[in-house]
């Protein structure tokens, strides 16, 4: 490993430690790292959009004679009308375009995947003769009650209230499970950082002595 690499990794290790110093309390090192990551990442995204969206999707098609790409160009430029107090309403058509496309794409997909598909998957054969069938009964009851919790037309009172309460219990068990499942992934992230620091200090040790 060359000296340059060692220095660069040293910079990285320093930044890693600066972020961890936040765990003790807010301090100048953390402030430095925080402002640096905001600045660098903003610049990074400018670049990604320039090289992956602006150039290949607008400039190159226009150069290739696909003049209809002028439409998104204009829609994009209209956004810059926001810089002027007087003309900023010009940016609204663009806003309409972006929000409209988002909503239009979302509607059928949400219905398909989050409603119909889930409904289909819940229509399970039920019974009390075998464990899988009992499990299906449980799933259906839990889905019912959790859905009842999301009813806005009725106060959570009486039998309906009891169902909604069982629904919220189901949700709580689900949330607990989600939390428990995640601990592992987060620990893995820290483990990777620990390995990075360990390797760096081993290298530094090797280079110095």
């Amino acid at each position: 490993m060359g000296t340059a690499e060692l220095i660069w990794n040293g910079v990285a290790a320093f930044l890693v430690m600066s972020i961890y110093s936040f765990l003790y309390k807010d301090n100048p090192f953390y402030k430095f790292a925080e402002h640096l990551v905001v600045g660098v990442s903003a610049g990074y995204f400018a670049m990604i959009l320039y090289y992956n969206a602006f150039l290949p999707k607008l400039i190159n098609p226009l150069r290739a004679g696909q003049y209809w790409y002028i439409i998104p160009g204009i829609l994009g430029l209209l956004m810059w009308a926001r810089f002027s107090q007087k003309w900023q309403w010009l940016s609204r058509p663009t806003l309409g375009f972006v929000i409209g496309s988002g909503a239009g794409v979302a509607i059928p997909l949400y219905l398909q995947n989050y409603v119909i598909r889930q409904v289909h998957a819940t229509m399970l054969p039920i019974g009390f003769t075998s464990w899988p069938l009992i499990t299906n009964v449980l799933i259906i009851i839990m889905v019912f009650c959790a859905l009842a919790y999301f009813f806005f037309s009725k106060q959570h009172k009486g039998a309906f209230g009891a169902a909604a309460t069982f629904g919220i219990w189901t949700l709580m068990v689900g949330f607990g499970a989600g939390f428990g499942m995640t601990v592992m992934g987060r620990v893995a992230l820290l483990a990777e950082r620990v390995v990075f620091l360990r390797d760096y200090f081993a290298q530094l040790w090797g280079a110095l002595f």
Partner: protein, 214 residues
Amino acid sequence: MRREIPIAICFLVGISFILEYFIPHEDVLSIFETIRQWAIIVIAFAYVLGIANLVRINSHVIQRKGRDWPYKIILVVSLFFMITVGIIFDIFGIRLGGIGEGTIFGWVYFHAQYPLQATMFSLLAFFIASAAFRAFRIRTFQASLLAVTAILVMIGRVPVGESLWADFPDFIEWIMNVPQLAGKRAIMIGAALGAISTALKVLTGLERTYLGGE
């Protein structure tokens, strides 16, 4: 007019995307592919607004010598540094310009941005522990359900859980596949209905607050 045209555009674009879902014709698919690309272009243009906002607010602080102003200088300088080495250098053909491995941009990415990002992310290992310590108290029945399931799943997922009870992983699978799945399904169904009705209100112009005042 200043509201009607945007709403009309929103409606037309939205409805055509809904229709596209039902039309398998390849010509239609390719037209809509192009329109989807347009959205990416438009978003790229809007990025300039973001940069302008960032620079404006931070330079205000620097000018007024507001709180933490030296740090704001670091922020603005690092922003322009990245843009300079990434785009300006590349346009003028200066060595090590552009993006990718082996450029200045690449070095900064791998030795500053990536470690910073990954370290920020890994802070969650600490936070998840402190949140668990604080919140998982057996206070109410609901809180206990939350806490007990979390603890069971947590322990059941690691090898040590299995050595405590051989069927632990199966039990965890059951929790994931029955109560967890049922709760999630209900949330999914409800949230999707809510999202669709909100989207429908937006498309039809019934909900137009996003356009702002006159």
